[in-house]
Symmetry: C2
Subunit: 654 residues, 2 copies
């Protein structure tokens, strides 16, 4: 490949949207750098051997003597090479004259990805050889001296985004994968965004950054907590799932406004796109209500939002849990597009269909529908059949597709059930047009909503597969979901209650009286923050009344309160009203960068089986190292081991 065409391909790949990011990455890194370097802040070359970074050089540097340190990314015909550092690429001219033979030798013999330090002059590229797609494409470096800092063996894969590699390989050689433009961008943006959040919280609003322990004790129902054996026989620390108790205790301790970028731990075994350790922006305030927390978070996200994205518009819209379920079939609606669930029970109230009449007569019985615009044009028969099959298989529900044609010439079994008037009414309610497809289902409210919510997302996937843009990747659609139920029936014993979120959530003030009569009807002061259909945060106003907290824990939830006696006691001693929230930083960064997995915004993630593929953690430990902790391994019997290995085989490593 010719050098110019290689460079052009490289630049194209760097400018190509990666994941859902539409910004060329080195360009974005580089632009930031140059904007800032006019003020020389930050100083990326303070304290070190180089005078400049490779990526920052521009025509304004012409004639300057510079010293650069970086990796040899590419070399062509022993005349040019491309040097890469953390901020980008620059073209270097290898000297050809006799007097510079030693410099030439170093630069020509060093294997690719070797580390070199060069000094030279920034010069213009010859006319016609500029590369406008490369941020440093107007200049090149005429080298005077060169030093090989470290030679490299041949890499297991090339550091170029257009060279595809499996994720397992990337994780095994994570230190090489981190050299990619995409990972550099993701990690730097994460750092910058968290820094802006800190400025907002600490410097603008007087929050105190407090570190809370991660060696703690187990919490009631904390079955997903990692254990840490102590040197006392039979005594274990637990790694907490969140600093929930500590942040409440800090409010009781008068800290007033707390935040922490908190490491949390959750042992969920093998779940895709979850990590055993994760990070949340953890916040708690005294004397605050829901509105206060929501204003705070809207300001926080607006302030910290990356400058290369569209600004965040506030306030965020808000929706009750009931409304989210009814309109989107989920508590985390993707509001970037419509296709809302519509209750069409009234249309069918007087239908002769026994099936529909039967559905309507049951408690919470409804008929609901979604309308897929131009569905008849985009969806194939096979896909519609697969949608119907999915509904039967997973929800035990029948879904009827109704094709709208001109003059309501309907092509559906359902059509036969309707008189002309009903047809017109359905079309009107669904705002349906020719070529749309309506999916209809009948049954219990919650179940039909969940089903249609799922179909809505599936149809969106299918339409986008046909090139219809429903979920604009550059759009960020925030939504508050509020008024969740305080309790849910226990899955394994529906006659008992469990907390919908956690037992410290305060009941909705209007429903407090129901706690003693119909607790299952009580709404909570919990709120979730949703972004593009993903829950990125949740929080609540907490219970600050010791008696109420005891009543909920002991009487309603039947929890063992001894594990929480310190918190209950603390509420007795002048606990202020307080509330807070936690934002899932990994998920948020994943959405902001457009990464396809949270593993792409974490420097050293675990595979979804919880393995570090680079270092091979977790690892065996010699028996004598277990002794001080008074534990021993219970090796599974052969049959158990076999079962477990079978289970694992369902989850091949990433």
């Amino acid at each position: 490949m010719h050098f110019s065409s290689w460079l052009s391909q490289l630049c194209k790949s760097l400018s190509r949207p990666i994941g859902r990011t539409t910004q060329p990455i080195w360009v974005s890194l580089s632009r930031n750098l140059v904007l800032r370097s006019q003020r020389k802040i930050p100083e990326f070359s303070s304290f070190v051997a180089r005078t400049n970074t490779c990526g920052e050089l521009r025509p304004s540097h012409l004639g300057q003597e510079v010293t650069l340190c970086g990796w040899i990314q590419y070399r062509r015909q022993n005349v040019f090479l491309v040097l890469r550092d953390c901020h980008g690429l620059v073209q270097v001219i290898i000297p050809q004259d006799e007097s510079a033979a030693s410099v030439k030798k170093i630069l020509c013999e060093a294997p690719l990805e070797s580390v070199v330090q060069i000094s030279g002059t920034v010069i213009s590229r010859p006319p016609g050889q500029e590369n406008p797609k490369m941020p440093t494409g107007a200049i090149e470096i005429k080298v005077k001296t060169a030093e090989l800092l470290n030679s490299s063996k041949k890499l297991p894969f090339e550091i170029k985004d257009f060279v595809k590699k499996t994720e397992a390989l990337r994780l095994q050689y994570r230190y090489l994968d981190l050299r990619s433009a995409q990972m550099q961008y993701n990690l730097r943006l994460r750092s910058q965004m968290v820094m802006k959040m800190r400025e907002y919280l600490c410097n603008l609003h007087g929050f105190v950054d407090v570190e809370t322990p991660t060696l703690f004790k187990r919490t009631p129902g904390g079955a997903k907590e990692f254990l840490v054996p102590s040197r006392e026989p039979g005594k274990f620390y637990s790694l907490p799932q969140s600093p929930q108790q500590f942040k409440q205790l800090l409010m009781i301790g008068g800290l007033d406004r707390y935040f922490q970028v908190a490491r949390c731990y959750r042992d969920e075994g093998s779940r895709p796109d979850r990590q055993p350790e994760f990070t949340q922006i953890d916040i708690e305030m005294s004397f605050v209500d829901q509105t206060g927390i929501r204003n705070l978070i809207e300001g926080l996200l607006q302030y910290s939002w990356p400058s290369d994205k569209d600004p965040v518009v506030i306030p965020f819209p808000s929706m009750t849990f009931a409304e989210a379920l009814a309109s989107y079939g989920t508590d985390k609606p993707d509001t970037r597009f419509g296709m809302k669930i519509t209750d069409v029970s009234e249309v069918f109230r007087n239908t002769e269909s026994e099936f529909l009449q039967d559905a309507l007569s049951k408690p919470q019985g409804t008929i609901k529908a979604i309308c897929v615009q131009e569905g008849a044009k985009h969806l194939k028969r096979k896909e519609i059949e697969s949608i119907r099959k999915c509904a039967t298989d997973h929800f035990n529900q029948e879904v009827l597709p109704i094709f709208l044609k001109a003059n309501s010439n309907w092509n559906s079994r359902a059509a036969r059930l309707l008189v002309e008037e009903q047809r017109l009414e359905l079309t009107r309610i669904m705002e349906a047009q020719e070529d749309d497809v309506v999916f209809l289902t009948a049954g219990e409210h919650g179940k039909t909503c969940s089903l249609l919510g799922k179909l809505r997302l599936e149809c969106a996937d299918l339409l986008e597969g046909r090139g219809v843009v429903l979920r604009d990747p550059t759009r960020f659609s925030f939504l508050w979901v509020v008024d969740f139920p305080l309790f849910l029936p226990k899955e394994d014993n529906p006659s008992e209650l469990e907390s919908a979120h956690h037992p410290f959530t305060a009941p909705h003030p209007s429903d407090r009286h129901l706690l003693y009569t119909a607790p299952e009807k009580v709404r909570s002061q919990h709120y979730d923050l949703v972004l593009n259909g993903n829950e990125i945060g949740g929080g609540s106003i907490r219970i600050h009344d010791a008696e109420l907290q005891r009543y909920i824990l002991s009487t309603l939830l039947k929890e063992d309160v001894t594990l929480l006696s310190h918190l209950l006691q603390a509420l007795d001693y002048g606990a202020p009203p307080h509330g807070g929230i936690a934002l899932g930083l990994d998920r948020l960064m994943c959405l902001v960068t457009g990464a396809s997995s949270i593993r792409d915004v974490i420097a050293f993630p675990k595979s979804f089986r919880g393995h570090d593929l680079m270092s091979n953690a977790p690892d065996s430990v010699p028996a004598e190292e277990l002794k001080p902790y008074h534990i021993q391994v219970s090796w599974p019997t052969d049959s158990e081991a076999e079962k477990s290995s079978l289970n694992h085989s369902y989850h091949p490593e990433s």
Copy 2:
């Protein structure tokens, strides 16, 4: 107690130096607040019910209608009360007229430490009733409305610094202890100082804040690492003692400048003033040398230093390890005072004392001394005897005290060994004056230095007990210690070597050739940062050459390199030269705040036996919760348990 005298006592206690802090704490909190509140940044009352904080109110607020939320700290004769929030105290006038009966009832009946919200007007105190020692002492609040937000039970101790309580009680009720002015000051200052460090690193110098995993695998010799059982039988994660490997891998990954406020874990059993989890400011840079790291850290501390202390003067002085040992008998000299160790071998070279001659004739044999100024005046005979006994007991060394009196009329056994000339020479070398005491000892260089280094600190304690100020608590004396040995003989097998710090430390360039001939003589590129005699940081330039790293690990240290194969492999693929440092944040904050223990700068510390006295962690775990982790408890036999409980009884809880 009369109200005015109570207030005056309260203010005195708030203005009193606590630990080594000389700043009145609420005053300092308050002053910061007011300076900033002129710009209204940070806004401490954004998003919440109050309009102002109690502590910020000044005559400039006169006439303003304010809403305050806080704790009832004190009440007098149902006329005044003092309301406290996170920023200080304010005096509130309880209305006495009939029309405000309900407000009066609330404010008079609420128990102390109850939480109330009040609204009212800021008014001047009547002439003569101002309290100049109280930051809000010129004003008071005329209340109009009041609401009881939460009532408090009687506290186990009062929230007043002059009420002394045991540390065990403070830790048990940590959430109450946090309300004290001292803990509020410590935690807020910690947050502010770390924020400034982040600004310096991120915003001024382009560092990237990268979070590294805490669920990792064990490292060679990591006997102090906590274990975390995984769901795979016999496989464990380890909680790392530092992100050392990750930060080096980040440099290999091209991150260029990394920092993290990193949680680290070390299981040291019961050691006073250590915590099982602690925090370090963790830093790593590519293409840097020792000077670069030192300049960076000096700038960092200067930038982040609290404004209520004397500014940090840079550059910090530097001293070799050999020099530190020879002059101060330790690798972490407290350079706030002299009393340096002096080699006086030459004075005694021709002495007739067989004992001294014998000591001088041995390898590394020396005679050394320290001079305690005015020791004869301040030290009691009993104390000198106890010093001598300590030397015999712990160092198996004889120490001779020499009292200088006018005309060298020496009162010591040693004096008898010296001729007049030698006496004068000793006096000259030691710069000794009348009433000074010289402590003299003879033996091997390292041993005599260590002994005298210990005596030096003991004498300083004794002199300070007599009112002599040697170590000014407002002075911060930083020092770099450099040129440590790379290896030390193994304690249990002195014929083998172990790393003096860790095996990734680069050898001193001048000594590299000795690696293959006399490795025990090789100095390293390790550096320690010392503050007032405490090690607050350490780091090194790292090995970036894979072959050298393998040679040191396998050949010299005889380590099992399979546990580090990922790091060794990474060095093969173009590792840049790099180095870094870690600052111990808890220790640093302890010194800055003048706290008597690191537990006073940590929100929820463990007792020195690793217990959380508030929640009672670590705790028992039901056997079925151990099952998923394939472990069981090995209960000690009765005799082992007895031994262990005996051991514990030597360490009563805090």
